[in-house]
Amino acid sequence: MQTEIQPRPAAPREETIYEHLCARGVSRREFLSFCAWMGACIGLEQSGVAQMVQALETRRRIPVVWLHFQECTCCSESFLRSSHPIVADILLDKISLDYTETLLAASGHQAEQCLRDTITKYRGEYLLCIEGSVPLAEDGVYCCIGGRTAKQIVEEVAADAKAIIAWGNCACSGCVQAAKPNPTVATPIHRVLGGKPIVNVQGCPPIAEVMAGVLVHLLTFDRIPQLDAHGRPKAFYSRRVHDTCYRRPNYDAGLFVESFDDENARKGYCLYKVGCRGPSTYNSCGTIRWNGGVSFPIQSGHPCIGCSEANFWDNGPFYQRLPNFPGFGIESTADRLGVAAVGAAAAGAAAHAVLTNIRKRAEIGEQPGENAERAEAKAGQP
């Protein structure tokens, strides 16, 4: 991961990313403003921005293999819908996307040939991006491409990849197909490829700017960004949605939406009581937002469903603050069970108290301490 990208010896000189942008009519000014904007997104210092400019000016384009397994392609869709034109260009032009099923002109054997060519020609140089989880049940038959299972493909392609990015919740933690009972044993990439450093770009889908930021970070510094305990880049996933939420003051003041059609919802109070997962979700929705900073779910009046967290489908119901309690049927909340247990304890205590007064009547009545004189008189009897 730390090695510099070496210019490919045999290949003819390829143009750098900047040259490629110039050829497409991007002005120097636009290029610099993109770098400054991206630098702000990643959280770089000013000197880091200069580093980024230099990197994009001098580096050649990185060959990319983009695999799709069990997924809905919303990650690709999100990326393509980024507000900044250069972001979409990164995917389509700046990195050279050598293999991706959804955008590839070739099909069938030719497409598979493309993949083989890329991983042999650019051994150790190509970037592997993965969308989707890998099914392991029944020897992986639930996801086969070109007659090979997802597991076989990902293991082969990952072997010589320069870096691996797992896009979205499917690749990072299995998303909906891994929700209970997970019939295909959908497995996240980091569990299929043990021991390899993987950048988990979480979300369903991830924010386009976050995806771009991760790629630009790789292009600029030629190493994977700093990751949190779940393998997510800290630059984008170190803060909770709750901590960056513009409705946070309502939370602290105890002003909550009770139902979606009440006055409090109209006033824009906190969505905590209607199930908002903001307090346990790490993402940049509150700062970068979506669709070019237009809005994000909470701003539109909908609670966060926690899509950048593992198992978020199993932590439901979405519109309930706490999940249902496992193992007691779908309607059992912790509160119902708790009230039942306390009630049972109180009823048991009451029943026991009645029983005590019947069974131990003699003992209670004749405790010396309770009626010392009487007990003494009795004790004095022969």
Partner: protein
């Protein structure tokens, strides 16, 4: 039936134990009430701007503050399990001897099934109670670990950071929060039974259990106190205790 005036006053609960008990009770009450409020904040309708209020923030602050006190108090009690008298000793809380299990059976027979009128003599707790407190100790450890793991993202302090590894064990913060909350109910159940049984023992046996946690003294029939069958590391002989030699010297009680 016992003759009167044959009670011996025994100093059982040392002052640190009593302080621990009441600080712990206060912490659990505050943590339970604020914890419930955090899970289910009441519906307030207010025309005021959010900037004018901070009550929910205050509730959370009280929860976190009580959490720190809870930890410190618990750590102190662990220290006192080694430094305190035999009734507070750590050995009581672990199932180490067969006598303890015999006493468990005796307590179930006498106090739950009520098959006998003879109380199980125990100067500290009886074995069932000691094991129960070992259980609440584990619950306490879980609440500390899960609570500080949930608190860690909001804090740079070293103590919460010690517990960040707990969250991944439960898959997600959301899941951990559920268990943290469920254990609150376990403490509620414990409190109901605990308070009832203290009143029961006080009412039926007259050993002064209820007042002992304030003053520290219990009252025990001399024949039991002198045989020292009461719990504590030397105890657990229970009802099978040999009869005391006539005129045996009363064991000295520690000075207050």
């Amino acid at each position: 039936m016992y003759a009167s005036h044959d009670y011996q006053r025994v100093y059982v609960w040392q002052q640190p134990v009593r302080w621990f008990h009441w600080i712990n009770a206060l912490c659990i009450t505050v943590l339970g009430v604020t914890g419930y409020l955090i899970a289910h904040p009441p519906a307030l309708l207010s025309g005021a701007e959010a900037s004018a209020g901070y009550w929910f923030g205050t509730v959370r602050f009280a929860h976190f503050l009580a959490g720190y006190v809870f930890v410190a108090n618990f750590l102190f009690r662990i220290y006192w399990a080694f430094a305190g008298n035999k009734y507070a000793n750590w050995r009581n809380f672990l199932p180490l001897t067969r006598a303890q299990f015999r006493q468990v059976w005796d307590v179930l027979r006498v106090d739950i099934l009520q098959l006998s009128n003879q109380p199980v003599p125990a100067l500290g707790h009886n074995a069932v109670a000691y094991f129960t407190y070992a259980g609440t100790g584990l619950l306490t450890l879980f609440q500390i670990g899960s609570g500080f793991a949930l608190y860690a993202p909001m804090s740079e302090a070293w103590l919460p950071q010690l517990f960040v590894w707990v969250t991944p064990l439960f898959g997600s913060e959301q899941n951990l929060r559920l268990f943290h909350y469920a254990v609150m109910w376990a403490f509620a159940v414990f409190t109901v039974i605990h308070v009832y049984l203290v009143v029961y023992h006080d009412y039926v046996e007259g050993h002064g259990v209820l007042s002992s946690i304030i003053g520290g003294w219990k009252f025990m029939e001399k024949r039991h106190a002198q045989a020292d069958p009461a719990t504590g590391i030397s105890g657990f002989r229970g009802r099978a205790a040999p009869a005391p030699a006539p005129g045996a010297k009363t064991p000295a009680t520690p000075a207050r």
